[in-house]
Subunit: 300 residues, 2 copies
């Protein structure tokens, strides 16, 4: 392991999961941490997740890797906060869900730093230091998006770190990352938030009816629509172009289905509904979801 002391800035779901996973898988590594929220710092201390520092500078002392685990809209401020205390030997990484804009913000604030941006494609609908757990990254992908100037050995070191946490690592261009995640993550969240909002604003159907009969499909959307509002607001603004592009595609496809329903075109519906089953099969086969029917809820 290339790192002796890792500083985690931001101790929410992802930051605290990194701490837990590192403790479990890399016991020799010392973990320091900081969060801008005093309540979160106190809680992280109670949980014994990391050596909690009262400032970002304190967490950074003697660290050889610092990971920014804050909402993407707060990345630039977090980078500015650590800038004066950064030694040239430290590698700077982050866990932002949108990469091109975050990379630009980090480069702006830390022009000479050794930056290796990362995005672990993992999470739950819960937030805060209590929500994290050590196995969050196990079997999930972590995408690194170093720019052309990054040293190969820095990329390798961060890659090894994530592999030790249990993730599978992939290196990708930041712009391509943003396009891929717009469709696999950002668009689904936007749509889930929208439909949950739509359902709560109807005059003919009450909110309590929506809740009561949600097992018909709606409840699946509510899980991701319960995700951290700050984090997601930032992601949509940070990855605006790719999200709007994907939204346009989705609009077109939905309009086509709307038309098929209006004109009783059952064949168009049937053809699509058959095709979509194959994607589900692929996701289960590749271990990115559980095969248990109903997500295993029926066993609860």
């Amino acid at each position: 392991m290339a790192f002796n002391r890792v500083a985690i800035v931001g101790l929410g779901l992802i930051g605290s999961s990194i701490a837990r996973a590192a403790r479990e898988n890399m016991p020799a590594v010392t973990l320091a941490g900081y969060d801008a929220d005093p309540g979160v710092r106190a809680r992280a201390g109670e949980l014994g997740l990391v050596e909690v520092a009262g400032t970002a500078a304190g967490a950074l002392r003697d660290a050889d890797l610092v990971i920014l685990c804050v909402p993407v809209g707060a990345m630039e401020a977090a980078a500015a906060d650590i800038a004066p205390h950064l030694s040239p030997s430290v590698i700077v990484s982050d866990v932002g869900s949108s990469k091109a804009s975050v990379a630009a913000a980090l480069r702006e604030q830390l022009p000479h730093a050794r930056i290796v941006p990362a995005h672990p494609v993992a999470g739950t609908e819960n937030s805060g230091p209590d929500a994290g757990f050590a196995t969050l990254f196990r079997g999930r992908w972590c995408i690194l998006t170093p720019d052309e100037g990054a040293a190969p050995e820095d990329v390798e070191a961060v890659s090894q770190f994530w592999a030790e946490l249990g993730a599978k690592v992939e290196v990708m261009d930041a712009k391509h990352h943003d396009l891929v995640l717009a469709v696999t993550s950002h668009l689904p969240h936007l749509i889930a938030y929208t439909i949950v909002g739509t359902a709560s604003d109807l005059e003919g159907v009450t909110e309590s009816e929506v809740i009561k009969y949600s097992a018909g499909g709606f409840r699946d959307f509510t899980r991701i629509a319960a995700s951290n509002p700050t984090m997601w607001r930032d992601i949509f603004l940070a990855n605006k172009e790719a999200v709007l592009e994907m939204l346009q595609r989705f609009h077109e496809d939905l309009t086509m289905l709307q038309r098929a329903i209006r004109w009783d075109d059952g064949d168009t519906l049937f053809e699509l509904f058959t095709r979509t089953r194959a994607i589900r099969r692929g996701i289960v086969e590749q271990g990115q979801d559980v095969a248990r029917p109903d997500f295993g809820r029926s066993e609860a």
Copy 2:
């Protein structure tokens, strides 16, 4: 229990789950069954789910309750099939996800029958007689939509039957049912099918990338987009008006969010994303979904 012999017409996920749940909870009731597909009949026989008959008429013999468990587009044909063999003492029910059009079809084919339509709001993404299980209806709602002419004792008998299967029973007007389910079930399925289709048709992102990085949110949509294509084609055509109405609302709300993203209006996004968390809480509190983060996948 008002029934001695129950005939199940259609032995897929729902029909076979009724058989399993009835066997477990009402051992004194005799179960007969029929399916138009010879392969399904053979499999139901191997599984010992019901006394399998070679014709609907055979399954109906001496039954005092017959439940049509076929896609809503096949209800009229199934009703026509049983019409000549129906004794006046039999209660006819169904499990269709759309009620007004199914009620009209049943009434058309069975003008003098004692009809009590039902819709158990439960299911999984899997289909066929092997997919059913005895606890599918436990704690879920079953909505009965009898018309004004239905005898109260018939409604009571069907209600008691579903309660014995583990469901909570609610009586509702068929048109209101169709509106409620359009938002809690039909619209979510339509949107899930659409986004999975959109994701598989992009030129900049490959299908294998979509599968690989699906844990970012997309995979939640693929579960319901793997549901039975015939069943869902029929539902959208049968509940066209309510689905188109809900789709229009959804379109408007999505357009509002699209505009907020384009104009960097973070407050609008944040306000909605905060509101939607409360709905999730309600669903979990009322036992319509599990509280385990990530649907409990992380425990797998």
